[in-house]
């Protein structure tokens, strides 16, 4: 039951805070902040401690996973689904990230959400999110994973639309929800395909969606076919469609930039550190299945690289501090999928971890800036904030250098590993795309940093008046995360630099074949590529510095010179417009003209509902004659029926 407590504690927090929020709302009382803080932050922290106590043996080298069978969830015919928890090295890493970063962000939220009217509600949602996310990573079967998957989707929706009085924000929430549904349909189809494949051959008590069971049946899956395509390809492709939705990959990434409508800590926790990486986790968890589907892996790699480059390009011209970070997230997720696609699962997960640290740090830093600027998010109206926000700018700089891939910060190792694996696995084009994305990353991040924190202040007089450094509980989280993003990379110090590549060995994901394949390249090549990427990053930083050192006039002039390209980028390649024209409008038209007026109004409302209602009313008026309120007559009917039954019995 130890593992269950990791999940139950945040759930308890969610229930308590949710009840508190509801009851306070009904009684029109103020929420008790102390209690909300204590429950909302304390319980995840305890969950983190429990997770740590369970995870330390794994970190020290234990291999045997912990299994906990909670209860029989669904048992229909030969289909058995157990609610069981499963903790191995991968989920240990995830649980520690979720609870650890989660606790820090909860702590940060105390300061950030201070004075908000939905304070208790916010913490209830956030705790519920942690619960769902923990179910996602701790579940020992695909359905439990899916439960968590949907749960985090729900929480994401609730938190993006947290300030639902603002229509745009509410719609951003809906957009996220609907786009995610599209992905989830794919995910469900994948589960169904898997179930259809495994169920006929399942034994008496086989738990067919259990990861370990699926792994044991991998031989069967490999040789099977769904229609005329190979089963692993279909299944993994469907699962990957789910992942593109949740992890914001092309073509379903459009919701993530809009998701920045939610409170900034939410963006940090859900839309950067944890939820959006669920797809990566899912692929890492099902590595054995993806390994036997090389076609899917190719698709994943291509989509990952494209997303990385595509998002990086868009990010270069964004002016909203959070939008830049949002596209950056999409781009970094692309890296992770690239890693998955080339079979370097461990490095994808490694990047996931470092990304969790530095992107959370960046988001929280931006949150601190927004907090200080009283809600202003446009970087054109910032500048020179270094003096007012020393700690924020310092941590932000560290995180920026990390994401830019400067050694020895964490992302240098993780990102470089990915690029190296891409190259060494024989995908030079993808490697070039990744490299370009790295260039873009370094450029837009330093553009962001320079415009925000250095140079002349463009802050309005009004905002200047209460410019202030954030309180300690916010900066504490920043500092911790900055330190982590600075040093976490050493967990994966590559062998070529004298390290042991500890994390990859520790996670031990994917088939050994992929590892062996990479070993054919020389160390010299690896060092060379490393040098190239550092050089590219440095060049990008210098470029950003040169361009934006003196404020916005210069860049604006140049933007006007390249108007078509600039427009294309600021309008995000017109993807939203294309979707609107291709998908939304046809569906809307179809619904309005056919489904609503003809089918719903005419057929369902009139013919089916009203007619049947009138028919029943008529029938009732006929039958109600029998109900004459005369008890003896009722008794007589009773006798009659009794005699009838008796007669049937006798004459049979």
């Amino acid at each position: 039951m130890v593992l269950a407590w990791i999940i139950l504690l945040p759930l308890l927090g969610a229930l308590i805070n949710g009840y508190h929020a509801l009851s306070c709302r009904l009684r029109q009382q103020k929420v008790i902040h102390g209690m909300v803080n204590f429950v909302g932050v304390g319980l995840p922290f305890v969950a983190f401690l429990i997770a740590l106590s369970q995870g330390i043996p794994f970190i020290l080298g234990a291999e045997e996973p912990i299994r906990e069978n909670l209860f029989s969830w669904i048992s229909v015919g030969s289909l058995h689904i157990e609610a069981g928890l499963y903790l191995d090295r991968l989920s240990t890493l995830m649980v520690l990230i979720i609870t650890g970063v989660g606790t820090l962000i909860h702590l940060y939220s105390i300061g950030y959400m201070k004075g908000d009217s939905g304070y208790a509600k916010y913490f209830a949602y956030l705790n519920l999110f942690l619960t769902s996310m923990l179910i996602l990573v701790l579940g020992d079967n695909l359905l439990l994973l899916f439960l968590g998957w949907e749960g985090v989707g729900l929480c994401s929706y609730l938190l993006i639309g947290f300030w639902f009085e603002d229509k745009a924000k509410a719609q951003a929430g809906k957009k996220a929800f609907i786009v995610n549904r599209i992905g989830d349909v794919g995910f469900l189809l994948g589960i169904f395909a898997l179930g259809v494949l495994l169920l006929p051959g399942a034994g008496e008590n086989a738990v067919i969606f259990n990861f370990e069971y699926i792994e044991s049946q991998i031989g069967l899956i490999t040789v099977s076919k769904v229609f005329w395509l190979s089963a692993p390809f279909i299944i993994t492709l469907f699962l990957f469609v789910g992942a593109t939705g949740k992890s914001a990959q092309i073509p379903l990434y459009v919701w993530l930039p809009d998701a920045m409508a939610g409170p900034t800590p939410v963006s940090a926790l859900i839309h950067a550190a944890t939820m959006v990486t669920a797809g990566v986790y899912m692929i890492a968890r099902m590595d054995f299945l993806f390994d036997v589907a090389p076609e899917t892996l190719h698709i994943i790699a291509i989509i990952g690289a494209s997303t990385a480059l595509f998002a990086a390009l868009i990010a270069m011209v964004q002016t909203d501090i959070k939008k830049v970070l949002a596209y950056s997230t999409v781009s970094q997720l692309g890296y992770m999928f690239l890693a998955m696609g080339v079979g370097a699962y461990a490095y994808g997960v490694f990047h996931l971890m470092t990304h969790a640290f530095f992107k959370a740090c960046l988001f929280l830093g931006s949150g601190s800036v927004i907090h200080a600027m009283s809600g202003e998010q446009d970087i054109r109206k910032m500048g020179g904030l270094k003096k007012a926000l020393p700690i924020t700018s310092m941590t932000f700089l560290i995180a920026t250098m990390t994401i830019a891939g400067l050694p020895p910060f964490a992302a240098f190792f993780s990102k470089d590993h990915i690029l190296w694996k891409t190259y060494s696995h024989g995908h030079p084009i993808l490697w070039v795309m990744g490299l370009l994305a790295a260039f873009g990353t370094a450029f837009y991040m330093f553009r962001l940093y320079i415009l925000t924190f250095t140079g002349k202040s463009r802050v309005s007089e009004e905002a200047k008046a209460h410019l202030h450094e954030s309180p300690f509980n916010m900066t504490f989280a920043l500092i911790v995360l900055a330190v982590l993003s600075a040093v976490a990379g050493f967990l994966g110090l590559p062998e070529v630099l004298g390290g042991h590549d500890w994390i990859a060995h520790w996670l031990h994901l994917g088939s050994n074949a992929a590892e062996a394949h990479g070993a054919s390249h020389s160390h010299t090549m690896e060092l060379l590529l490393m040098g190239v990427s550092v050089a590219v990053a440095t060049f990008a930083i210098l470029l950003a510095f040169v361009l934006y050192r003196n404020g916005l006039e210069g860049p604006n002039k140049r933007a006007r010179a390249m108007r078509p390209l600039h427009n294309l980028l600021t309008n995000k390649f017109y993807v939203d417009e294309i979707y609107d024209a291709c998908v939304v409008r046809p569906i809307y038209y179809l619904s309005q003209s056919i489904l609503f007026t003809v089918i719903d109004r005419k057929l369902i409302d009139e013919v089916l509902v009203n007619r049947s209602g009138r028919f029943l009313a008529w029938l009732g008026s006929c039958v109600s004659r029998i109900q004459n309120g005369f008890v003896n007559r009722y008794a007589f009917c009773f006798l009659l029926a009794f005699a009838l039954m008796l007669g049937i019995w006798v004459f049979n």
Partner: protein
């Protein structure tokens, strides 16, 4: 005496009770007829208990008696209430629940 005799008597009591319920409009008498039916059932339980040499039937009868007591308490209270409202215990008086369309 074989069990059939006892059961025949039980059936007779039950049938008489049922006819009473249908026939009589005096709620009190109808109620007593229900008691008759219960007694018929009780007798069959006890007869079977003896027939099978198993006390379970007697226990069932015992609980039926308890049930009858509870039923009588509540039922008679309702009859008193009805009498207070309408000044009658004739079931034909209480037709408030009939549907307006019918009759």
């Amino acid at each position: 005496m074989s069990i059939t005799h006892y059961l025949t008597l039980a059936i007779a009591l039950f049938s008489i009770g049922l006819i009473g319920v249908v026939l009589r409009r005096n709620l009190l008498v109808a109620f007593m007829s229900i008691e008759l039916m219960l007694n018929g059932a009780n007798l069959s339980f006890i007869a079977f208990s003896r027939y099978l040499g198993d006390m379970q039937g007697q226990m069932a009868a015992f609980f039926i008696v308890i049930l009858a007591a509870a039923e009588a308490a509540v039922g008679l209270a309702i009859i008193v209430l009805l009498f207070r409202r309408q000044g009658s215990v004739q079931s034909s008086v209480f037709q408030n629940l009939k549907d307006k369309v019918g009759v």
